[in-house]
């Protein structure tokens, strides 16, 4: 700082040193104590939102499984006989030829190729033992999805090789994690009918989907995409306020704007956005 800058500062400091009135001090300090007496909004809502999120996720996974894999669940796929599915790629060439003799369209190499994705899927299941608790549901859904895809391919071959699968009893270490996944999938999926999912399940989808979005949005701070979501959230809130303005719902917009400011006092509203959300 130059000497003249110092003189300006000194002159400024010689101005009156105003202080807030004592009544204002008292009000602010009382508010600071009062704020501690009630939990913050985020803490108040954390437990109910977490419970709602878990319920919605569970419901969503169940619904999805009902819609996507009717008829997949069968006695062949229970925990006691996982090895039979692995036995298909492990079948000896003679068995493959026998399979061909039965006039099935696919020769043995495609059968083995089809089995490879299943092996990969099971390997993937094996690799993820230490998932965080809050990712268990998502991982479970992913595993089920992979399994459903591979089982669809299975259906083609199963017609021809079902005899072979039942007679084999080859154990495989890769099958170890599968029972748990299948048991868990059975928890969520009821006995599937051959027909598509019932209309009532489909009809109720929109409401759970909306709740799921809201619950996931509420859960977001715990997830990997928390930062990205945190960046978008203020913009989304301001867009919602702007929409209220367009709809002429100014009272709600004023209230929402006030709430936004209380929640995000250090957020800078750009001029263009301010024009859309400002009080009329």
């Amino acid at each position: 700082m130059s000497e003249s800058d110092g003189k300006v500062s000194a002159a400024y400091r010689s101005l009156a040193r105003e202080e807030p009135p004592a009544s204002l001090d008292a009000a602010i300090l009382a508010a600071s104590r009062g704020a501690l007496a009630r939990p913050s909004a985020s803490r108040r809502w954390a437990a109910p939102v977490s419970i709602a999120a878990v319920l919605v996720l569970a419901f969503g996974v169940t619904l999805r499984m009902q819609q996507e894999k009717p008829g997949v669940e069968s006695p062949d796929m229970d925990a006691t006989r996982p090895a039979q599915r692995v036995a298909v790629p492990a079948a000896p060439p003679a068995a493959a030829e026998k399979f061909e003799d039965k006039a099935v369209a696919e020769p043995s190499p495609p059968m083995k190729q089809a089995a490879a994705p299943r092996e990969e899927a099971r390997a993937k299941k094996q690799v993820a033992p230490a998932a965080k608790p809050d990712k268990v549901e998502a991982d479970r859904a992913l595993r089920d999805e992979v399994r459903v895809e591979s089982e669809r391919k299975d259906l083609k071959e199963r017609a021809a090789v079902s005899e072979l699968a039942k007679e084999s009893n080859v154990a495989s270490p890769a099958a170890a994690p599968v029972p748990q996944a299948k048991l868990q999938s059975r928890e969520f999926a009821p006995e599937p009918p051959a027909s598509p999912a019932p209309p009532s399940a489909a009809a109720s989808a929109p409401a759970p989907a909306r709740l799921k979005r809201e619950a996931l949005a509420a859960q977001a701070p715990a997830g990997v995409a928390a930062d990205a979501q945190a960046v978008d959230e203020p913009t989304r809130e301001l867009e919602a306020i702007a929409k209220l303005r367009v709809e002429g719902r100014h009272e709600e917009a004023d209230k929402a704007l006030g709430e936004f400011r209380r929640k995000r006092p250090d957020y800078r509203i750009p001029d263009a956005m301010w024009e859309r959300v400002k009080p009329k």
Partner: protein, 182 residues
């Protein structure tokens, strides 16, 4: 060793009411003068001052110590002032314009001994020159003087870059020097 502002704010967020009292005691005077010299009327300044602290209290859980507490506090104050100016029809762009939203000059102390008369006149001139500064320059100057913020911190608090903050500070200083005859 006294606790830092950041430690006090975190302590308050953790439930320590006394930490807030200490923090408030440190910053109430400077922040009050910052707000008072940024707006036209003292009553308005009190209202805005209270609102700034209310927002800081409500946002305590979101405070992150990566930023200096004073920078965070003055960011809140800046945003509240911007809302105030916008309500009067000003935009962020116009804050750099001359002759906008002239603040009420601070009245110099009245019954001064003769020896201090010149100092009093100097203070009066400075006060008027300060009130006549464009909003952005006045704000930068006040943040520097009252909040002890550097140019980089002023930039962070006002949502601009460091060069712009330095320019505003420099222009403000030059005009005030001229006013006091330097």
């Amino acid at each position: 060793m006294p606790a830092t502002d950041e430690q006090l704010m975190l302590a308050y967020a953790g439930g320590d009411a006394a930490a807030f009292e200490a923090l408030y005691s440190r910053h109430k005077g400077p922040l009050f003068r910052f707000v008072l010299r940024s707006v036209k009327a003292p009553a308005q300044a009190e209202e805005l001052f209270q609102e700034v602290w209310m927002r800081a209290i409500e946002a305590r859980a979101r405070y992150r110590p990566e930023a200096k507490f004073s920078t965070w506090l003055y960011t809140i104050a800046h945003n509240r002032l911007v809302d105030h100016w916008r309500a009067k029809g000003l935009s962020l762009v116009s804050l750099d314009d001359e002759e906008r939203e002239v603040a009420e000059p601070v009245a110099p102390p009245s019954a001064e001994p003769l020896a201090n008369l010149e100092a009093s006149r100097l203070a009066g001139r400075l006060s008027q020159a300060l009130a006549a500064l464009p909003l952005a320059q006045r704000e930068a100057f006040l943040m520097h003087q009252e909040g002890d913020l550097t140019a980089a911190e002023i930039a962070a608090a006002t949502g601009t870059n460091e060069e712009a903050a330095k320019s505003r500070l420099r222009y403000a200083m030059n005009k005030l020097k001229e006013a006091i005859g330097e």
